[in-house]
């Protein structure tokens, strides 16, 4: 009988990448904190949100392993992410015009 490979198809890439991502997250956090002390005026919020978005992308892709999953999961995630983005944009009509 043919050899059946029951083992889950895993993309092994050691722990190195996780440590790197972790370091990147710490770096980004310290940037957020530092930037908060500088007066960027209206840009402060977009900058903070941008850094946060990069951090989430790292966590989702590596720690949550989505980068290596089937496309359907990415579609679902994109759906949720888009919804969130739309909600953010709509909320900003109150933030910027109040």
């Amino acid at each position: 009988m043919e050899h059946v490979n029951t083992e889950h198809k895993t993309h092994s890439h050691g722990y190195g990448i996780y440590v790197l991502v972790w370091l990147a997250l710490i770096a980004l956090t310290s940037i957020t904190v530092t930037v908060a002390g500088v007066d960027f005026g209206k840009l402060a919020l977009p900058i903070a949100l941008f850094i946060a978005a990069v951090k989430s992308a790292l966590v989702i892709n590596y720690f949550m392993h989505i980068k290596f999953e089937e496309p359907i999961f990415k579609v679902f995630l994109l759906l949720s992410g888009t919804t969130l983005l739309v909600i953010f944009i709509l909320t900003f009509f109150d933030v910027f015009y109040r």
């Binding site: 949720s80 739309v86 909320t91 109150d94």
Partner: protein, 548 residues
């Protein structure tokens, strides 16, 4: 079934369970059978519904005459809060998905169970724990919560009543909702019988699918919001309370970012049930299958874009007010698509006005009033006049109770014979439908008028000029309560000593009507393959059904 066993009826799911012993309380509480879980939800949710209704009747008693009648302001505040929390979080949000979605989604898909039966049981347990926490909170120090079901800050941060525990209960209940939604999404993707592609799926399935996505995506928002209020209360962190540097309108945004989509968690499954009942009792395939299915998805999506129509008078920016008012009108479109398609389905159909159909007609009537008055509230200028008045109270009872609540009964009448294998008294059910619609309008229509005249909501007392209409509304609450008791009495007696129901009493063609009543543990005694459109009534020639 030519093997000579045809006369040996398969055991029903009541006789055969997933636990070691197939009878007794533990065979229910630990059952992973989607049908038993659906029935457990039915019992629990019905119990809470009656408690909620009782609180409603008590409030109406207080309002029977001006001045203090049976309770003071604080008791009244507590009652409308509990009434709201119970009706929203324990009755109407879980209602149709948890009871009928659980029981009928797998049956309609030709599946043996949901994708994750244990997760399903866990969802029920989480629901139970959440509801126990609500009850516990009544006896905590400070007394029961009095914030209204909306928990608006800054009051909810400052009041000395017990707020954190019921808030936490709502947080817990949210997980039940999320897990149920997740389970249904995977079930629909993975468990459909061979041949049942997405476009052969009954429309109830589509509506559950759209609902499930809202449950999964929107519920976490309210969860986080609730936690923030608890943190603010416990540690004095300034998030929402302006005295601490917070923004109270931010709370309203976050609250309604969930709670507006939540109204679609309430109504979409109801619309799905309507799309099942109308073809069956018109003996005609549904008109516009694809538009109805797509409008469910459209409602689910557009539903995210309108939340701030609850906040027109809150002090948010004018730009937001205009944008959200405009977007609100857009949601009316996909709802209109559904109503027109339902009407077109009935056109030239051979209509059989049995109880489920009559209840659906009551729904169309009441929900239309609710929906149209919603447009009044959606236009900024009119809303400023009637915001926080009885007009709003009337509007949301028409949509939630007259809309979804009515369909809970319609669904119960439609699927009861399948769930219990018994038939209820049809005449009695018809009379109940008549009394229901009378009671409903006597109870709530006066509130539209009072609201327009300026009667604010959430008050235990009022000016003498409202006395007559208030009295009328209270009389309506008595007829309503009697009708509700009568509905369940009829069904209860049917379970106890009703006639045995035919497997297909209405001549339905979706898969749940092609198995025995009640169904066996694994739903069907054969392998299901699907080669028909869902509402193809030409199948009836080959199917077994009870003719008139």
């Amino acid at each position: 079934m030519a093997d000579g066993n045809a006369h040996v009826a398969a055991k029903s799911f009541y006789e055969e369970g997933t636990t070691k012993k197939s009878t007794g309380i533990t065979s229910w509480l630990f059952s992973t059978d989607h049908k038993r879980i659906g029935l457990m939800y039915l019992v629990t949710i019905t119990a809470f519904f009656f408690v909620g209704a009782l609180f409603g009747v008590l409030m109406r008693l207080e309002l029977m005459a001006p001045g203090e009648t049976i309770m003071g302001a604080q008791e009244y505040n507590t009652l409308f809060t509990l009434h709201g929390v119970i009706m929203i979080f324990l009755f109407i949000i879980p209602g149709i998905p948890a009871i009928f979605g659980n029981f009928f989604l797998p049956l309609q898909l030709g599946a043996k169970d949901v994708a994750f039966p244990r997760l399903n049981l866990l969802s029920y347990w989480i629901y139970l724990i959440g509801s126990v926490l609500v009850i516990l909170s009544l006896f905590m120090q400070g007394g029961p919560i009095d914030t209204g079901w909306t928990f608006y800050v800054p009051y909810s941060v400052r009041t000395t009543t017990s707020v954190s525990l019921p808030l936490f209960a709502a947080f817990v209940l949210g997980f039940s909702s999320i897990l149920t939604g997740l389970n249904f999404i995977v079930t629909i993707h993975r468990m459909r019988a061979p041949g049942m592609n997405f476009f052969r799926m009954p429309l109830f399935g589509w509506s559950i699918y759209a609902t499930a996505w809202i449950q999964v995506i929107a519920t976490p928002v309210v969860g986080i919001t609730i936690l923030l209020v608890i943190i603010e209360r416990s540690f004095g962190v300034g998030i929402f309370d302006p005295a601490l540097g917070g923004d109270p309108i931010l709370f309203q945004h976050l609250f309604w970012i969930y709670s507006h989509p939540a109204v679609y968690i309430m109504i979409l499954p109801a619309m799905g049930v309507v799309s099942e009942i109308i073809p069956t009792f018109s003996r005609r395939t549904i008109f516009g299958y694809t538009p109805i299915a797509m409008s469910s998805l459209a409602i689910a999506f557009v539903g995210y874009l309108v939340w701030a129509h609850h906040m027109f008078t809150s002090g948010m920016s004018d730009t937001s007010r205009v944008i959200f008012s405009l977007l609100t009108y857009i949601v009316a479109l996909p709802s209109g698509v559904k109503v027109f398609n339902w009407v077109a389905t009935m056109y030239k159909g051979s209509i059989d006005p049995k109880p489920p159909f009559l209840w659906v007609m009551s729904f169309v009537f009441l929900f239309s009033i609710g929906g149209l008055t919603g447009l009044v509230l959606g236009s900024i200028t009119a809303d400023i006049h009637v915001h926080d008045t009885y007009f709003v109270v009337s509007h949301f009872h028409y949509v939630m109770f007259g809309g979804t609540g009515t369909i809970v009964f319609a669904a119960l009448y439609y699927w009861f014979p399948k769930m219990f294998g018994k038939m209820y008294n049809i005449k009695w059910a018809n009379i109940n439908a008549l009394f229901y619609i009378i009671a409903f309008n006597v109870l709530y229509f006066p509130k539209f008028i009072m609201g327009y005249q300026g009667m604010p909501r959430r008050y235990y007392d009022y000016l003498p000029e409202f006395a007559d209409l208030q009295m009328l509304s209270t009389i309506g609450s008595w007829i309503m309560f009697a009708t509700l008791v009568s509905i369940f009495l009829n069904l209860y007696l049917a379970i106890k000593k009703g006639k045995k129901a035919h497997n297909n009493p209405w001549g339905g063609v979706t898969l749940e009507w092609q198995t025995s009543s009640p169904p066996p543990l694994l739903n069907f005694d054969r392998e299901i393959t699907v080669n028909h459109e869902p509402y193809d009534f030409s199948q009836l020639k080959e199917l077994d059904y009870e003719s008139k």
